[in-house]
């Protein structure tokens, strides 16, 4: 079953009088349980595609259907709610809330979803365990290493039970050991719990682990390889 269906997606930026085609007719479908990397040089449209898939931006034309919902037709407040319930985000700079502990950072998103307290607690604990942060639940982000912070971010992304997780250059700020560690955890989650991951990345190590690599250039998909 396809989690994501993208048809004839276009995104045009009208900088000055020159039209810039950030995405120029992208068709794409991603199934549940895929472990996909989107690669391409700077300016190829990776970030734009990720923003559109994540419902952070509206396409100029074309459809994005996620789990059967056409998100290009949603209003901005509907989009916010849609993101909350369907999409998990992992950012390059971790973007944890500095004043909250690891546990609270993970729990926070379920709080936004108005989940009951019991469920929040058990799910937070099991997620932190899954990302190998048992015992660090009460640490604030500034007491955690970059790799550990990013693992908290993964746990947070999963906490909302999303249909898929979008990770925007998740390893860009990590050393090789932390990168390996993070990738292992994500692979494990993908394998054991069938969680769909989509990365945008420059990192060859991520590309190597990916089971599908989509290459963008000048706003178009120039190759789509499944391993």
């Amino acid at each position: 079953m396809n989690v994501i269906e993208v048809n004839a997606l276009e995104k045009i930026y009208n900088d000055s009088e020159v039209k810039v085609y950030a995405l120029n007719g992208v068709d794409l479908s991603i199934e549940a349980g895929e472990f996909t990397a989107i690669v391409g040089p700077s300016g190829s449209g990776k970030t734009t595609l990720l923003n559109l898939l994540g419902g952070l931006d509206q396409p100029t034309s074309g459809q994005i259907s996620i789990g059967g919902t056409d998100i290009s037709k949603l209003s901005s407040s509907q989009l916010i709610d849609f993101r909350l319930r369907n999409i998990g985000f992992v950012f390059q700079a971790y973007n944890l809330i500095p004043v909250l502990t690891a546990k609270e950072n993970v729990e926070f998103i379920m709080h936004l979803q108005n989940r009951p307290k019991e469920e929040r607690l058990t799910r937070t604990m099991s997620l932190l365990k899954a990302v190998g942060l048992e015992g660090r639940e009460n640490s604030r982000p500034n007491k955690l290493s970059g790799g550990q912070q990013q693992r908290v971010a993964v746990a947070r992304a999963l906490a909302s039970k999303p249909k898929f997780v979008l990770a925007d250059e998740p390893t860009a700020n990590l050393d090789s050991k932390a990168t390996e560690n993070l990738l292992e955890i994500m692979e494990e989650l993908n394998r054991n719990e069938n969680i769909t991951f989509i990365f945008s990345t420059h990192d060859q190590r991520v590309v190597n682990k990916a089971r599908r690599v989509i290459t963008l250039e000048d706003g178009k998909i120039i190759s789509d390889v499944r391993k």
Partner: protein, 392 residues
Amino acid sequence: MRSVIIITAITIGMFAGVFTSTFYKGWINQRLEAGVETEVSHIQIHHPDFSENFELKNFIPDGAITSDEIARMDFVNGVSPRMVVQAMVASSETGTGIKILGINPEKEKTVTNLYSKVPEGKYFEGVKRNPILIGEKLAKKLKVKLHSKLVITLQDSQGHLTSEAFRICGIYKVGNGMFEEMNVFVMKSDLARFVQLDESISHEIVVHLKEHGQLTPNSEMLSGKYKNQLVQSWKQMAPELGLLNEYGSIYIYFFIIIILLSLGFGIVNTMLMAVMERVKEIGMLMAIGMSKFRVFWMLMLETVLLTLTGGFFGILLGIGVTFATMKSGINLSFYAEGLEDMGYSSLVFPVVELEMVCVIVLLVLMTGLIASVYPARKALKYKPAEAIRIDM
């Protein structure tokens, strides 16, 4: 850290505001109290021409009857009929012009609290013949002490210039230099003999009411009844006091609003900084699905809580200092020698008024709310996709 700074700023600002207002309020109340309870009393009745040149012949006809009549009215607390004469007073050193008030000491006690403000000597006691009560300021001016002799010269009712000796039985102190310098009190019977008028004659009937809140209706009622006389309430006799009473609080509120306004801008500035510093955080929150309303509410709440915390400590501190200084008062005489000449006491006892504190709390809350809107709105303008990637 930033929160601590802004809370401290608000605390200091609110402390200044609250303390200034309790201080000022105390000052006003003292001035009013002194003005009304010591100097003017509530209502005074004169012959319509009397206040122009204080002529002896402009007394209130049937003054004794009128005064007894008023004393029987049920809203009246006390009545004191006075004989008032302009005169010259001389000590062995120097002389000056004064106003002599001939009073019945017991009746006078029912309309003013002058009797309680005699630190030196006694209120019409201790001197057998021709006792006189003078103000501290006049005593200094004439360089006289308790039991000194004073010679008063005046024109009696027959037009003859005549003099008589009086002995100081007490020196009163009311904190109003002008009043102390101008007014001396003697027994009405002594003054009547001196100016050759009957003791029952009065130039001034002073009325003290049971309920000060009924000032205007009671004074209107009296002026309706005694149409041929001039009936004036203290607000008419001393308009500057009435003004102080009515506009004093407004002045205080203006002062506090100005403080809050400047604090408000400080808060807006700080919160804008806070929002800009947290662009990424806010972007992330919106990206993962925090609604705009919630983001707005979160930032607004932060501002309001900061303001309220600062306001709370400031008000507490202000009230605390007020209570600490309430008993002993704050002595300003070192800074302001001229204050007493204008009738303002230099020893100020601040007062806390519940109503005023409530209004200040409301004003603080409003400041917090208003100051929070702009930064919070600013935060909503960010697009999450862009905000997350901003490099700080």
